[in-house]
């Protein structure tokens, strides 16, 4: 089954004085468990694409199916439910909540799912183990290094056991060594069946992907398989 399907999707931002075509006539299918890299210069529409898959936005034209569900007709709370249960976000800026400890940050998506406290804590501890950070559980984001924060962010993205992991320049704020650690975690997740969509303009990261989608001015200019 296709996890994500783009069917002639366009996204146009209109203001009173001009309009910007962020994506134009995109057709794309992403398989379950696939690791796909979306590459292209700034302004090529990478982030728009990510936001659309993440149900943060709806297409202007065309249709997007997430696990078979067309999203353009969904209401805000339905989109939120779909996002919470299906999608995990990893951002370039880590975006942890500064008032919460590492463990609490990981618990947060489960709180929004209304999971039991017991279950939340157990799973958050397990996820911290997976990303190798058991010892920073009680630290606030400011007390952690960039690499640690990003690993906590990945653990948070996995909290509700999502099928799709959306990563927006996850190594952009990290040195190459910690960046590599993060990428290792992501490819390990893919092996466990998580679909990973990676947005980056770092050419060296394409080796982790199975397919590379290249965007330019809102259009797909190339889709290539990466032989490992």
């Amino acid at each position: 089954m296709k996890t994500v399907v783009f069917e002639s999707v366009s996204k146009i931002y209109r203001t009173r004085y001009y309009q910007v075509v962020a994506l134009e006539d995109i057709n794309l299918e992403i398989e379950r468990g696939e690791f796909i890299a979306v590459m292209g210069p700034s302004g090529s529409g990478k982030s728009t694409m990510l936001n659309l898959i993440g149900c943060l936005d709806k297409p202007t034209e065309g249709e997007i199916y997430i696990k078979g569900t067309p999203i353009s007709g969904l209401r805000d709370h339905e989109l939120t439910d779909l996002r919470r249960n299906t999608i995990g976000f990893v951002f370039q800026q880590f975006n942890l909540i500064p008032t919460l400890s590492a463990l609490e940050n990981i618990e947060l998506p489960m709180i929004f799912r209304k999971a039991e406290a017991e279950e939340r804590k157990k799973r958050a501890e397990r996820l911290l183990e997976i990303v190798g950070l058991e010892d920073v559980a009680d630290r606030k984001p400011v007390e952690m290094s960039g690499g640690q924060q990003q690993r906590v962010a990945i653990a948070r993205a996995l909290a509700n056991n999502p099928e799709i992991l959306l990563c927006d320049e996850p190594t952009g704020n990290l040195d190459s060594k910690t960046g590599e650690q993060v990428m290792e975690i992501l490819s390990r997740l893919r092996e466990e069946g998580v679909t990973v969509v990676l947005v980056t303009h770092d050419e060296s990261l394409k080796r982790y992907a199975e397919r590379v989608v290249r965007l330019r001015d809102g259009r797909i200019v190339d889709v290539s398989s990466v032989s490992t």
Binding site: N51, G54, L56, D57, D76, H77, T80, D81, R83, R84, N85, G88, F89, F91, N95, I97, P98, T99, L100, E104, E107, L108, P109, I111, F112, R113, A117, R156, A157, A159, N160
Partner: protein, 371 residues
């Protein structure tokens, strides 16, 4: 967990939160302590009227041309078959002189029993045998009267057998600047009858009794119920109190605006965080809850402190202005404190509604992009 999140967000901007709480404290304290003071003022005034709620005054109906109450009417009223005291009052003004000093004062004609029933004796006795009199507190002071003094009233000598305590406001007899002589010695007609009923619920019965006996042919007398007058006074006090509390309410309004202000600032500062929370699965209503909870915490903590302070505040204001406080922790005081608390929390939550609504309705993408 939402509670923890809200608490931590508030402690992140500690000074701001504390200032907002102080605003609420001031507002709640102002409203509640004014309420408590007003209630005490009312109580003190009502107490000064003494126990007159069960009094009924029968007066000649001047509208129909009656200027006095005849003996037959007095007899009929004495026959009212329920327990109570009937006190016919004769009143006039006479020249009173003592040791060369002259005054023109009100002189009442009452019997001895009426004095003990209506007033308290400060010195001497209520002895009202013929040729004796009892002096009010004010006139005794002004003329330097003592028990045993001989005064000339309307050309006749009377000996002072007692002096009354200072009396509060009354509607029937104002004894402070008056002298009371025996009813039999008083030349005037009966100008009023004070009827003290033992039971409040007999007042209605008394009224219909008068209608059926005294007023059967002509409307000879009219009836003044002390209770309805007191009710009206109490009503007026309640209105004044409400008005004062409304003025104090302005300070609570200001506190509400300051909460609105800091919550709006907080919404803007935390735009990105709101975006993150939406991205990781928070519904609009979750965001709304977090922000409302913050407003609620500010309101509750301010109101608890404010309500507690105002019990003390009400005590001091009352003590300062009225000079006496009977009991501070009575039902009304607690009621006002609870009311002030509810107003404080209500104000905070209403003020938090708009910022919370705004936060909840931010576009997730826009919010995420916010730096």
């Amino acid at each position: 967990m939402y509670l923890q999140l809200a608490l931590r967000n508030l402690s992140r901007a500690r000074v701001r939160s504390v200032l907002a709480v102080i605003g609420i404290i001031i507002g709640v304290t102002a409203i509640t302590s004014i309420g408590i003071f007003g209630e005490n003022l009312k109580k003190t005034v009502m107490e000064s009227f003494g126990d007159i709620a069960n009094e009924v005054i029968v007066l000649p109906n001047s509208k129909e041309g009656f200027s006095k109450i005849d003996d037959r009417t007095v007899e009929l009223i004495r026959k009212f078959p329920y327990p109570g005291t009937v006190i016919p009052v004769r009143a006039d003004s006479f020249e009173v002189s003592y040791k060369g000093e002259k005054r023109y004062v009100a002189v009442y004609g009452l019997d001895e029993r009426a004095i003990t029933e209506l007033f308290k004796i400060a010195e001497g006795t209520a002895d009202l045998k013929s040729g004796r009199c009892v002096a009010g507190y004010g006139i005794a002071e002004s003329l330097n009267l003592r028990v045993g003094s001989r005064v000339v009233i309307d050309g006749r000598i009377y000996r002072v057998s007692g002096i009354l305590e200072e009396e509060g406001a009354r509607f029937d007899i104002r004894p402070n600047y008056a002298i009371i002589i025996p009813e039999k010695d008083h030349p005037a007609d009966v100008s009023a009858i004070i009827v003290k009923l033992e039971k409040l619920e007999d007042i209605e019965g008394f009224k219909s009794y008068i209608e059926a006996t005294v007023n059967i042919k002509d409307e000879k007398v009219e009836i003044l119920e002390m209770k309805s007058i007191l009710d009206r006074i109490e009503e007026a006090f309640n209105q004044i109190n409400l008005f004062l509390m409304a003025i104090a309410g302005i300070s609570l309004l200001v506190a509400g605006v300051s909460i609105l202000n800091i919550m709006l600032m907080s919404t803007i500062e935390r735009t990105k965080e709101i975006g993150i929370m939406r991205a990781i699965g928070a519904q609009k209503v979750d965001i709304l809850k977090i922000f409302l909870m913050e407003a609620g915490i500010l309101g509750i903590s301010g109101s608890v402190v404010g309500a507690t302070l105002s019990i003390a505040g009400g005590y001091f204001v009352t003590k300062l202005i009225l000079g006496e406080v009977s009991e501070i922790l009575n039902t009304t005081t607690v009621l006002f404190a609870v009311e002030g608390f509810a107003f404080g929390v209500g104000t905070a939550i209403i003020s938090g509604l708009y910022p919370a609504w705004r936060a909840a309705n931010l576009e997730p993408i826009e919010a995420l992009r916010y730096e």
